[in-house]
Amino acid sequence: MTAPSGDATASGGPADQGTNAPLPEAFAEIVDDFHAVSGNDRVQMLLEFADDLPELPERYRDHPELLEPVPECQSPIFVITEVDGQGEEAPARLFFSAPPEAPTTRGFAGILAAGLEGLTVGEIRAVPADVTENLGLAEVVSPLRLRGMAGMLGRIKRQLGEKAGLQ
């Protein structure tokens, strides 16, 4: 997809940093896994991520108002981040909520949850914004729908920057 620059990040600004940084190891493995298969197998892999998206912890299940909606997605999806401390080195945690009738969105969230798990604020903020276009998913879900995933990543980065006192 040849998206205009800036289209991939909802928030712009610091989220655009680190476009040339290498991918975190777990995320790079996911990218490799998607590229190792094609066509319907890619669809099945995305479906596995949708099926395996962790449930929200109870503290958020009862407080949906704490979650940030991602309007770039066609279906309702909410994301919330937690940062332990301040600065680039602070560990980050990500939580997502999307209904079962929105499996594409759940799959995108599942990829981000697995690919960014256990990383620090700085490591996540350095993930290239165009990683969502490099999974080989455009041909199976269409470039239009992939915008939602870029929107999620952009919002995660912005939340992390705010919570870690970086902006």
Partner: protein, 299 residues
């Protein structure tokens, strides 16, 4: 050979009852020769989470649209798609999908542009089938490739283009988007992404009849008397005069197009699939904001 129409009494009140099937009828006929069930959803992965046994997936974005031009596939593309789906020109096709059948109605509309003879909607769509506890499977069928003729697409009967709409101003235009999109407060559906229109509002003279007025809570179409109350009594639409429906990209208006043409029997109904993402971006086309249809400019 086409399958017989669903004789369910609740369908017989519609102008063209043969265009709908009930979930019970479909459950009884699954697997019969001459029937292919097609799922068409907004969420491209929904089919893969579980679908009606034997159903094939046809995606509006990946399969029905041309990948380059903003248009539908051509006759060769459609024939190849039908062949992959195991559909012949004699096949009875039943389409169903999510979101009260928006995308299913849109797929049906595209099938009809190509003149496929027998294509019907599953009344209530995916949600009703699921809520009735009927079977879903993740098993993807592998239909044998069929020979489907390369047909020319005939857009004239059911499709309106921007210039057709410009020439039609003052006629019966139906805007099926949400009230906020109609007034111009919003450029997209609530909770949906902005899909790139630079101006908000509606086409001058268009009536606001949100698509959901044709749907029941469970996803089925409303009974004929209720549809008549909305479109004939409240809106004063004349079934004998032409109508053009539009929304944002043509999917919700396919739902209303189906209701007007096949359930109420309007003589001439077209879907303007360019819809607001075209009109709201076009240079110097007239636009009205606010809750009234507004003045139609002199031509």
């Amino acid at each position: 050979m086409a399958l017989p129409a669903d004789p369910a009494p609740e369908l017989q009140e519609y102008a063209h009852p043969e265009k709908l099937v009930t979930t019970a009828w479909l459950a009884d006929h699954l697997g019969e020769d001459g029937l292919v069930v097609v799922e068409s959803d907004e969420d491209v992965l929904l089919y893969d989470t579980g679908h009606i046994p034997g159903a094939v997936k046809i995606d509006w974005h990946l399969d029905l649209n041309d990948p380059v031009t903003r248009d539908y596939v051509d006759g060769e593309g459609f024939a190849a798609l039908m062949s992959r789906a195991g559909i012949t020109s004699d096949t009875t096709v039943v389409v169903y999908g999510d979101k009260s059948n928006w995308w299913a109605a849109y797929a049906l509309w595209v099938f009809e542009l190509f003149g496929h003879a027998d294509v019907r909607l599953l009344d209530g769509g995916r949600v009703l089938w699921q809520s009735e506890g009927r079977e879903l499977t993740r098993e993807v069928p592998q239909p044998a490739a069929t020979e489907y003729p390369v047909l020319e697409r005939h857009d004239e009967a059911s499709r309106a283009f921007r210039d057709d709409v410009l020439a039609f101003l003052g006629g019966q235009l139906v805007d099926v988007r949400s009230p906020q999109e109609y007034t111009g407060e919003r450029l997209h559906m609530p909770d949906f992404p902005q899909e790139g229109a630079v101006r908000g509002g509606h086409i001058p003279g268009a009536s606001s009849v949100p698509w959901a007025k044709a749907a029941r809570e469970d996803g089925r179409f409303r009974p004929r008397a209720e549809l008549e109350s909305v479109y004939l009594q409240e809106q004063g639409l004349d079934p004998a005069a032409p109508v053009i429906a539009y929304c944002r990209i043509g999917e919700r208006s396919s739902h209303s197009w189906f209701a007007l043409k096949y359930l109420l029997g309007f003589a001439d109904v077209k879907n303007y699939d360019g819809s607001w993402t075209e009109w709201g971006n076009s240079v110097r086309v007239p636009i009205v904001t606010g809750s009234e249809p507004g003045e139609v400019p002199a031509r």
